[in-house]
């Protein structure tokens, strides 16, 4: 699999599309057919909303962020260079927007004390069941410093594809790998006593 082309041939929901669909729609939009942009929105709405949700953990805000990302993509459509896959360009644009918006208005802060507290009454002797543990881990990611959290979010969003995550973050692969390593270490430290 070509790392940067992870989204070619399928969408988040599994429907099959090809990169040429995007290119054809972009060309139609650039030629003045605004309605062709709807195909792009339909094709990529789910990935962009899910990516936004990884950043903010709020469904409503995720949709607002994704909407803004599409609008910016529409404005900047002429700047897409065909040598990069459209989805790579779109994800990089969206990631950039999500990061800056989350820095401007941070998502709700989650304390690690809240994260590690067992919520399920079935949990006994401080041992969480699998479901609670998984939820705890996902929420613990949210308490990491932004640069590690973003690297982890993008890495798992792109199905553990470091080059794709690096392209979305506009960072060198080595930097992303280092942040992933450090992020995992921090995560383990936070979860050590609870999971």
């Amino acid at each position: 699999m070509q790392p940067a082309l992870a989204w070619i041939g399928r969408t988040y929901g599994g429907a099959r599309v090809s990169a040429s669909d995007d290119q054809a729609d972009v060309e139609r939009v650039l030629a003045g057919n605004v309605d062709a942009f709807e195909n792009i929105v339909r094709r990529w709405q789910s990935p962009l909303i899910n990516l936004a949700y990884r950043f903010c953990r709020d469904h409503g805000r995720a949709e607002d962020l994704a909407q803004e990302a599409f609008l910016r993509a529409y404005r900047a459509l002429g700047q897409w260079r065909k040598d990069a896959v459209f989805s790579t360009w779109l994800f990089a644009l969206a990631t950039n927007l999500y990061r800056s918006e989350l820095r401007r208005i941070p998502a709700g802060i989650v304390s690690i004390d809240d994260v590690t507290e067992p919520k399920d009454p079935r949990a006994e002797d401080g041992v969480l069941d699998a479901e609670d543990r998984d939820r705890t881990i996902r929420r613990a990611v949210f308490t990491l410093p932004a640069k590690y959290r973003e690297a982890l979010d993008l890495f798992y969003f792109h199905e553990m594809d470091v080059p794709a995550a690096a392209q979305s973050l506009s960072l060198p692969e080595g930097t992303v790998k280092a942040r992933l390593f450090r992020g995992r270490e921090l995560l383990r430290g936070k979860l050590k006593e609870s999971v």
């Binding site: 909303i49 949700y53 995720a62």
Partner: protein, 131 residues
């Protein structure tokens, strides 16, 4: 906790379903955007000579002010720095201008009116409108 286990948990997708109005909202915003008139690009070509003139005038004033501050005698204590000299020169120029404005008020008023007229005319020319 092992990496594999962490990978498995964090790889799980939430699969949020977009709301039914999402596409419509995006397309409404896109159509609004498309219906707006194209932004007027800044006329760099027309403005460039003016900008260059301004920069040259500023540079000439700085040089003139620095020269006016004069060379420092060698036996004296170290003089003001380059920027201090420029600042001193500029502020003395400004004070001179203000004094002159006080003495011969009418000339300066006329000069101000002419400059205002020139700047308005230039602005209108730059935006392509002629009065």
């Amino acid at each position: 906790m092992k990496d594999d286990e962490l990978d498995r948990i964090l790889s799980e997708k939430q699969n949020l379903v977009p709301s039914s109005a999402f596409v419509r909202n995006v397309m409404d915003a896109v159509r609004r955007e498309a219906s707006l008139p194209a932004p007027i690009p800044f006329p760099w070509k027309r403005a460039l000579p003016g900008l260059v003139l301004c920069v040259l005038a500023l540079a000439a004033m700085c040089v003139a002010s620095f020269r006016r501050s004069g060379p420092q005698p060698l036996h004296e204590a170290p003089g003001p720095s380059f920027w201090t000299a420029i600042w001193t020169g500029l502020s003395s120029d400004l004070i001179g201008l203000l004094r002159a404005a006080n003495v011969g008020g009418l000339g300066w008023i006329i000069l101000a009116l002419v400059l205002t007229f020139a700047s308005i005319t230039l602005s209108l020319r730059l935006t392509g409108r002629r009065s």
